[in-house]
Symmetry: C2
Subunit: 418 residues, 2 copies
C-alpha cells in the first residue's frame, strides 16, 4: 500500500529522515520532502518506513471549472512532467502532476482570460529520463491536438533538463507544422517564491495563439518577471543550471519577446500559421551517439560504437580531433556505413573544415561538417533522419540541408552571448 502523502520517518543505515513521502519517479527510491523544503531520495532497499501521520489527500473539489468561453481561442496543453507541471499540496507536502484543468486554472487564473485550455498528460517524468521513444509519443499527441480545427496552438510542459533536446525533436517530427507549439518549463518549483512556471505558462499560451507556426521554447528572458523569450526549437540551449533565464538562443536571436500581458515583439523571421494538416514523422533511431572530444581522449572508445548507425562528434574549435590517432578509426567507422558528423564544443559559431589541414583531412575521409548546428540539435536530427531513411547518401544530404532552421548561413550580429 502506498504511503504517499503520509508523514513518515525513514531509517536508512543509521540515519533518520522525517518528512512527507512524495511520489517517486524511481521505483527503487523513497522520495521524501524534508521540513527544510529539500527533497531527499532514499533507496527502498535498506530503508525502514515508519508512518507518523496519515495524509489528507482528498483534493478539495475545485470551484474553478473550465467554462468554455466561445470568444476565446482553444489551446491544448500537453503535460509531460517536470517541475512546472507539478504542484505542492501544502497539507501533505506531496508533489502532484497538474493533470486536471481545474488544478491548472486554480493555480494561474490569468490563463482562463486568454484561452480555453484542454489538458492531456501522456506521461509524467523527469526530463532527464526522456528518450527518443518519449519524443515520438509527445509528437503524436501534439499533432493529434493541432490537427483539430478548433485548436489554435499547443503548449507542452516539460522538465527543463532536456527541454531543448525535446524541442528539437518535435521540430523535426512535426512536418508541415501549421500552428505554434510552445515548450514551457520551470526552473523553480511552485512552492518557491521565485516560481517561474506560471509566467512561462502564460507567455506560452500567448505564443500558442500567435501566428508563429514554429516549435519554440518559451521561458523567462531575464532573471526578473519582465518577459519571456521564444526560441526556435533547433537553436536553443540551456546555458545555466538554475537561473530562470537559462534558455538562450545560439547563433541567432529569439523569435519573439512575449510579455505576460500578451504583447509580442517579433525579432526574427518565422514560419506563418496555415491551415494544412501536420504530418507526423516521429520515428527516431536509437543507435545514435553524441561524443564530446577532449584532449587525450583515446580513439579506442570508437570500438564501442561499431554497431551504431550514426555519431556526432563534438570536436574542438572549428571541428577538430587529434587526426594523428583518430583519422584511421573514424575512417573505419565511415567505411562500415556509419554516419559521422562534426559539430563544435564551442557553443557559438560554426565548424569549418577548410581552415586547417585537420578539418580538411577529416572531411576528405567522409566526416560531415554540420555548419552552425548545435551539437544537441545535430544528435536529435541525426536520430530523426536515420529514423526516416537508411540510405547513407540521403542521410549525408539531409544532415547538411536546412530543414527546420537548424542551419543558418550567417549569424545574427547580436547572437553571441545573447
Amino acid at each position: 500500500m502506498s504511503n504517499v502523502g503520509n508523514k513518515v520517518k525513514v531509517k536508512y543505515f543509521g540515519s533518520e529522515y522525517e518528512g512527507i513521502l512524495l511520489e517517486s519517479s524511481d521505483k527503487n527510491m523513497h522520495l521524501l520532502k524534508l521540513t527544510n523544503g529539500y527533497n531527499v531520495g532514499l533507496p527502498r532497499k535498506g530503508s525502514k518506513v515508519e508512518v507518523l501521520g496519515k495524509a489528507n489527500l482528498g483534493l478539495k473539489a475545485n470551484t474553478l471549472l473550465i467554462t468554455k468561453n466561445k470568444s476565446l481561442p482553444n489551446v491544448s496543453l500537453i503535460s509531460t512532467g517536470g517541475t512546472i507541471a507539478s504542484h505542492v499540496d501544502y497539507k501533505t507536502g506531496a508533489v502532484h502532476p497538474m493533470t486536471k484543468p481545474a488544478d491548472l486554472l486554480g493555480k494561474i487564473p490569468e490563463l482562463k482570460k486568454i484561452s480555453n485550455i484542454s489538458v492531456s498528460a501522456p506521461m509524467s517524468i523527469f526530463s532527464e529520463e526522456m528518450n527518443p521513444e518519449h519524443w515520438s509519443k509527445i509528437a503524436g499527441f501534439v499533432a493529434r491536438e493541432l490537427n483539430k480545427d478548433e485548436i489554435r496552438g499547443a503548449v507542452v510542459t516539460h522538465g527543463t533538463d532536456t527541454l531543448h533536446y525535446t524541442a528539437a525533436a518535435l521540430t523535426f517530427a512535426l512536418e508541415g507544422l501549421s500552428k505554434p507549439v510552445a515548450i514551457v518549463g520551470g526552473q523553480r518549483s511552485s512552492d518557491r517564491g521565485s516560481f517561474d512556471g506560471g509566467m512561462n505558462l502564460i507567455c506560452g499560451v500567448h505564443y500558442a495563439i500567435s501566428d508563429i507556426a514554429e516549435v519554440a521554447t518559451v521561458l523567462h528572458g531575464t532573471s526578473s518577471d519582465d518577459y519571456c523569450i521564444a526560441n526556435r526549437g533547433t537553436k536553443v540551449k540551456k546555458l545555466h543550471t538554475s537561473k530562470r533565464d537559462a534558455f538562450r538562443p545560439i547563433n541567432t536571436v529569439p523569435l519573439a519577446k512575449i510579455y505576460p500581458n500578451g504583447k509580442l515583439e517579433k525579432h526574427n523571421g518565422y514560419e506563418l500559421r496555415h491551415s494544412r494538416k501536420i504530418k507526423v514523422k516521429s520515428k527516431f533511431e536509437s543507435k545514435v551517439a553524441l561524443i564530446k572530444y577532449y584532449p587525450g581522449m583515446s580513439p579506442d572508445i570508437l570500438k564501442c560504437y561499431e554497431d551504431y548507425k550514426g555519431i556526432i562528434i563534438e570536436g574542438t574549435g572549428l571541428g577538430h580531433v587529434a587526426t594523428t590517432t583518430w583519422l584511421e578509426p573514424l575512417t573505419k567507422l565511415i567505411k562500415k556505413g556509419i554516419f559521422v558528423g562534426m559539430t563544435s564544443q564551442a557553443d557559438y559559431g560554426r565548424v569549418d573544415p577548410y581552415v586547417y589541414s585537420t578539418g580538411r583531412a577529416l572531411t576528405n575521409h567522409g566526416v560531415v561538417y554540420l555548419e552552425d548546428m548545435l551539437s544537441e540539435t545535430a544528435y536529435v536530427k541525426l536520430s530523426w533522419v536515420l529514423g526516416q531513411t537508411n540510405n547513407i547518401e540521403k542521410v549525408r544530404h539531409l544532415m547538411v540541408t536546412n530543414l527546420r532552421g537548424e542551419l543558418s548561413t550567417k549569424s545574427h550580429p547580436n547572437a553571441f552571448l545573447y
Copy 2:
C-alpha cells in the same frame, strides 16, 4: 627530401591541386596552401606531387636582434604551436613556427619596448593534438623558466582549440605558483587583416610582468582591438569557434582587463606574486574520461570504461542522468574503485544533488557532485589528482576541495553570459 615551400601540383584521384606545399603536422598528409588562401590536406597515399617551382626558404637575416635592455623586465615565451605561433612567409606561402626571437620581435616590435623576451619551443603542434603528456612537458618548461630569478613571468603560446584545457592543466601542475603565466592564442592567422595574435601577445606580456601570480588565458575581450581579458585558467571556456573574443569566464568575471598600452584593470581577487620556488607536479593520469550525457544515451557504453580510473559525467541541468537505467551501472563502476564525478552541460551555474531525487540517488550511490566546476576543468583536475594519488578517499576529497580557484561558493552577479 622535403618539398616544403615548393610550388607544386598534387594529383589525387583524378583531381589536381596547385599551391605551395606547407609543413604538415600530419605525416600522412600533404598540406597545400591554395592561391585562394585556403589550406587543403591531401593524403600522401594516392597523391602524386609534381614540383612546379623551387622555394626560396632562406629567411633573411633579421636585423632586429634582442638587445637586452637592463631597465626592462625579462619574460620567457614558451611556444607550443597553433595559429599564433606561426607566420606565413609571403614568398613561399609556408607556415613557419616563430621559434626565433628575431622572427617574433620583427612581427610585433612593440614587444621589445615592454620586456626582454627569451623564447623556447618545446613543441609545435595543433592544439587538438595536445594530450596530458604535452601538458606535463609544458608545465616543466614553464616552471624551469619561472624558477629563474631574473624571469618576471611567462607567456605560453598555444592553439586555441584546447587552450582552456591546457590552462587548467598548468594551473594544477604548477604548485605554489609565484609569478604570472599568460596563455595566449590567436583566432586568426597572421596572414589575415583581422590577426589578433599580436595584440594578445602584447597583452600577455603585460600580464606576465604584473603582480598576478595565476595562470590565465589572455585573449581579446571584445571583437575589436580595445583590450584583452585575463581569465583564470580553471574558469574559462572557448565559447565561439571563430570570434576573437571567444574565451569567456564561466561563473566569474575576468581577473583583469589589459589594454595594449599596458593599463591593467583588475576585476577579481587573485594570488599575489611572491618569491618562493614553484613545485612542478606534472603527472597526469591518462585513464580518465569526460562523458557528455544525452537523452536516450545507453548505459551500455559505461562497460567500455571499466579499466578507467576516473570519469566525469557531464549531466543535464543540476547534474542528472536517467537514474532508471544509469544508477546501477554507475554504482558498479564506483564499487570497482572508479571515481565518478558530476558536472553539468549547462555551462554556467552549479550542480546540486539535493533539489531532486535523481541527484540524491546519484550522490547516495557515490557520484561526487563537483559544484560549479567546468566540465573541462573537472576532467583535467581529475586526470591531475589521479596522477598524484591512487587513494580513492583522497581523490574524492581533493575533487571537492578548492585548490586553484576551480570551485567557488557563489557566482559573481555579472558572471552569466559575461
